[in-house]
Symmetry: C2
Subunit: 692 residues, 2 copies
């Protein structure tokens, strides 16, 4: 049974997040006009009908003085009597790309004009955002803006498993309940949450989603076979929101699904098999996005199994997708996950660059390399991945992690927008040349084939509030927004989110923004110090275990002894990782004198007595930041307690409960880390605090 | 459907362990006579029929000059013409208890006489053992022995879960496959493995078994309701081998099963509920053993929930069982499992004694306290539990762990018989008084109600060889044997097991015995040093993690810092645990000068430079023993490799594969422990070996 439900409505049974009824209050009872056709226009029509309510009307004729007009540029061309905001928007929209829009409002009427349906959808949601941030709950905002997305690819990866029996439950590294996509080995029959999710993603400009875990478990292969009609229906839902649907597939699919004896890219039957699969897929889903592949990574099969390289592997699958306009996202998270901790010459941080940088220019033009934002794995602090800075001739998406695997698991508040902003605005050359941010470098690559950008692992599950922690919704919201416009500051994005999410608590907006703004820094303070990372409980990755990954196979070490700690990744005496960066950065990271404090232990092994640029020693820094971090969490908790009754009950209670747990967690981090280093260094806290 | 299979046969589909066909070869084709009736006699009759084979005969008349007579003493009383071994055995058997036997053989005939059926069964298996150790594969042995068990209770605890979905799979801390008792939430339909197991246990004198996990998961409660007919059938199987069947039950059963609002021992309805349950049970199983209860332990419900003490709790359930002759085994594994690692005043080692010692004399006479052999939890080295030495007025069983949770998980070879021998022969007063071993103290307590003794957690699962590691069968065998006769040395027991298990490899027996004899000491060398314990991977408990339990809630710390390590449990400056021992031991443990080296870090926090009685420093001891322990494992592996072709293929291959893994594990232990302490202490290895 397919869901007969139209894509354009939402249920109200789950938290509407930043799209609650108040966000469209200024349209209630109004006349609006929509000039466009197609599945996205259908969605928009339902959106508008819901917004205007029974007292309003949605029509096609812009001449009857509607409060709002959304119009495709080509349909307006012959219209006469186009004046005011609509005229200005139409003029501004000329020549925009398919996702761009012009939005003009004079306070009494507003107009969105775009060359494509998706532009209209983006423009509509931008109008809601603008109204909320202007505080215009009841009146149309005054504004004039022309926007295009800075990055062509803005993708969400679900790490959802098809059945609950799979590895780590139904969402790998999910902290907000089970999958909204799957149950009992197949796509859920009730697809209202999927539709609601598509709406949320579309509202912040996401244009691609992969719906199943990159670790493709055996049960998930049936998505390509008898599960395909269900996938097609999900793709239909996302299509209505301008979002392309992707699947994660195993490189070994020809063996697992096709009964072939090999998955060798050099084998004709393998090439033919992938071509057949693509043909079958595109017959059902003509606008299917393509595949995400995790190959030769953490035990997954890949081209290395056949003595081939990643170019062979990625181009194999790209070749099958090319006739249909599909793309393959090829993950670069390739490293030796059976490392020997005794071996200090192997450095996991080097791995992605070592594997891929030399292949630049050899990938097919519908291959997109997916590069994690840091060289390790989504720690609270890492340098920017040097591979993300290289490969000018290859489509690249930089991967972020919205789900808070290493950053508090949606128990601890940790707004990641400041981190993402730092990464996206990273100065690629290190020489402060104009327009040389990571985002602009990606955009430049993207201009070749419109296939570069960003992607991120989702943080949603079937919890009523989607993200477990109410305030973690801001990370999902914010990812879409910075993907659209990397120049947006974290504070601007939080301003939008807060205004949209808590429209009735305008007096608290500044407080809520401040709370989120400081949370990443606070989390960094009470966890692993100075960029060294990995002091987490093995497997779960929540809570402290200073030596938890120290003697492991994962390549994740801090090398603390009684004299000092940190990883020597210099060219001169260490693993040479620092040399993978553009020259200015390589030199800066190479020397303790120029290496930023916050990354000191990522690049250097130093004595506890080493003096930081901040003027304090490493050991005292550890004591001070951990005490201060835990103190700030208590302060956040107390602040939140004082807000009781001033926010909706569900949100307040949810966050209160999480903050209480965060207080305990931060205390545990503080005490374990300080005790560990006191026992090892023997250096007393200069401030005389108790260390256990 | 109940199994229609008689209890007395075995299938041959699984490893016969120490009861292979060669062990009865000396009876093949013989005439034997059995004078006894009842379920155990039925079992014996089938045993004998199998042994003598088609060319022999099993009769009832001892006058036709059979090679072997097994006779109940009372049935012989009026018989005339009783001469030779039968006469001598009959005379010796007079006045024995129900489990004792007299066994006399003159090389051509043999006789077993006992006052009860169980004595005959024990005598029969003793004959097989005697034949094997005498090398008499073909002829009846010459011997004359009268035996009674030293300890009345010799029990096995299964930690089997009723369904695979339960915590940690179907056998908690099981390392030999899934449960042989349960699948899919109920008792298995094919009960051949259960019958085979009953035979193995009976052959070493076990007389009680509890069949389900002491952590009673929700699905297991149905054993008391609709699962009861199946339990009755299992009890029938064990009955044929002289073994009483027990169930583990939850203290909260009146709530879970009985829909009562409380499980309070002071509540009349609760008392009545337990009485009703007992009545129902004994209606189905008139000789049901009783219950095992883990209460107020690691989160399990118990009398503390109602402000009652353990006397109230245990006596409640004992009262229900008393009319039927049943017993309750009440576990003393009660401690704070939510301890704060910062709190050095709480000491888990103290907990059992602190909770129970003062209650001595107040328990009903069908309550048996079940006390773990050490104060912590089955570490490779602990002192003997002071609670096991106290409570002279209370039935007590000392609990051992055959399953190798902390001792190598049946991957590493670790024959625990030397450990158990040390514990059972522990000098209770510490003053070397005659007959003052722990075993004799238990036997003395046992004389009051015949309810003291030993119990142990089983190491079997549905692996073909029962125990995962072929040589781990010796631990199961040996537990039964030392429970019967604690004076037996580990070497004697291993001699029996080896002769029975590898009858065709007599030239290797000494080698195999030596291999096992040294294995516990070797395991101790390469794991946690000097009695400190707990340096294992959290949760799984396999492999090293020096700090794995250091900052945990479990009360399991080593307190290593840059200057030294160990737990101060002295009365003078520590937790006072040492004071729980009888005076001589208390004084010996209190002082570093008199504390045995192997327990030094259990009782004292000392500097790395502390000089052991062995003449080396603590830090050098750590380096030396870890290097030596790992070296010995390599030596064991190489020795085993040289045995290829000289043992049966299945056994050789199994052990070879495990020893290869043990080599890796021991190397990992060696390197992590030595590196950890080098990094912390900064003291180089005197022998100049590489520390990472």
């Amino acid at each position: 049974m397919r869901s007969g439900r139209a894509a354009g409505t939402h249920t109200g049974t789950s938290d509407p997040c930043w799209l609650g009824p108040a966000t469209t209050a200024f349209l209630r009872g109004r006349q609006v006009s929509l000039l466009a056709e197609g599945p996205i226009a259908d969605t928009l029509r339902l959106e508008l009908a819901t917004a205007v309510g029974p007292a309003g009307a949605v029509g096609g004729d812009p001449s009857c003085e509607p409060a709002l007009v959304l119009a495709r540029h080509d349909l307006l061309a012959g219209a006469v009597g186009v004046t005011g905001p609509l005229r200005r928007a139409a003029d501004a929209a000329a020549g925009l790309g398919e996702e761009g829009f012009a939005l003009v409002g004079d306070g009494s009427t507003a107009a969105v004009v775009a060359t494509g349906e998706r532009g209209l959808l983006h423009g509509y949601f931008h109008l809601l955002r603008s109204a909320a941030t202007a505080g215009s709950h009841e009146v149309l905002p005054t504004l004039e803006t022309v926007q295009e997305p800075a990055l062509p690819v803005r993708m969400i990866n679900q790490w959802d498993n098809t059945s609950a029996g799979d590895h780590l439950g139904s969402v790998e590294r999910g902290y907000a309940g089970d999958s909204i996509f799957f149950s009992d080995g197949r796509i859920v029959q009730d697809r209202r949450r999927i539709s609601d999710y598509a709406r949320l993603l579309a509202s912040v400009g996401i244009n691609a989603v992969s719906i199943n875990n990159v670790n493709v478990h055996p049960a998930a292969v049936r998505l390509l076979t008898d599960g395909l009609p269900d996938v097609a229906d999900v793709a239909r839902i996302f299509r209505g929101y301008g979002i392309a649907t992707y699947l994660s597939v195993s490189f070994a699919s020809p063996i697992v699904l096709g009964d072939l004896p090999t998955a060798d890219p050099g084998d004709e039957s393998v090439v033919a098999w992938w071509a057949g699969v693509a043909e079958g897929l595109y017959r059902e889903i003509p606008d299917f996005g393509g595949f995400v592949v995790k190959a030769d990574s953490e035990g997954r099969p890949g081209p290395f199994d056949y003595g081939r390289d990643h170019v062979d592997g990625a181009n194999l699958i790209a070749g099958a997708l090319r006739p249909f306009g599909g793309r393959v996202f090829w993950r670069c998270f390739v490293y030796d996950h059976r490392q020997d901790w005794r071996d200090r010459s192997t450095d996991r941080a080097r791995a992605a660059y070592d594997h891929f940088a030399a292949l630049d220019g050899r990938f097919a033009d519908n291959v997109v390399l997916q590069v994690k934002c840091g060289p390790m794995d989504f720690q609270v602090r890492e340098p920017v991945s040097p591979l993300a800075l290289a490969m000018a001739e290859t489509n690249t998406v930089v991967e972020f992690q919205i789900t808070q695997e290493y950053t508090g698991q949606q128990i601890d508040l940790c707004c990641l927008l400041p981190q993402w902003h730092e990464i996206l605005t990273f100065d690629v050359s290190g020489e402060q040349l104009p327009g040389d941010t990571l985002a602009s470098a990606l955009a430049r690559r993207g201009r070749v084939t419109a296939s570069s950008g960003v992607c991120a692992v989702s943080n949603v599950g079937d919890d009523a509030n989607w993200t477990g922690h109410k305030l973690a919704q801001a990370n999902l919201y914010g990812f879409g927004r910075v993907a659209w416009d990397p120049a947006l500051s974290a504070r601007e994005v939080l301003g939008e989110w807060t205004a949209l999410t808590f429209p009735d608590a305008t007096d608290l907006h500044e407080t809520l923004i401040e709370l989120q703004m400081g949370s990443w820094g606070t989390y960094e303070m009470y966890t692993a110090p100075l960029g060294v990372g990995w002091m987490v409980t093995p497997h779960t990755h929540y809570g402290p275990a200073v030596d938890g990954y120290e003697y492991s196979k994962w390549g994740t070490y801090h090398f603390a002894d009684r004299d000092g700690l940190g990883v020597d990744r210099t060219v001169a005496t260490g693993t040479g990782f620092a040399g993978q960066y553009p020259k200015a950065w390589a030199e800066r990271y190479e020397h303790v004198e120029t290496c930023p404090d916050e990354l000191l232990l990522f690049f250097h092994h130093v004595p506890y007595s080493h003096l930081l640029h901040s003027g304090t020693t490493v050991i005292q820094h550890i004591y001070d930041t951990h005490v201060e971090g835990a103190r700030r969490v208590v302060e956040m908790r107390d602040l939140w307690r004082s807000l009781e009754g001033r926010l909706d009950e569900a949100s307040w209670t949810n966050v209160m409960e999480r903050l209480e747990r965060q207080v305990n967690s931060a205390r545990e981090w503080r005490d374990q880390v300080t005790t560990y280093f006191f026992r090892k260094s023997g250096v007393p806290d200069r401030n005389g605090r108790v260390v256990h």
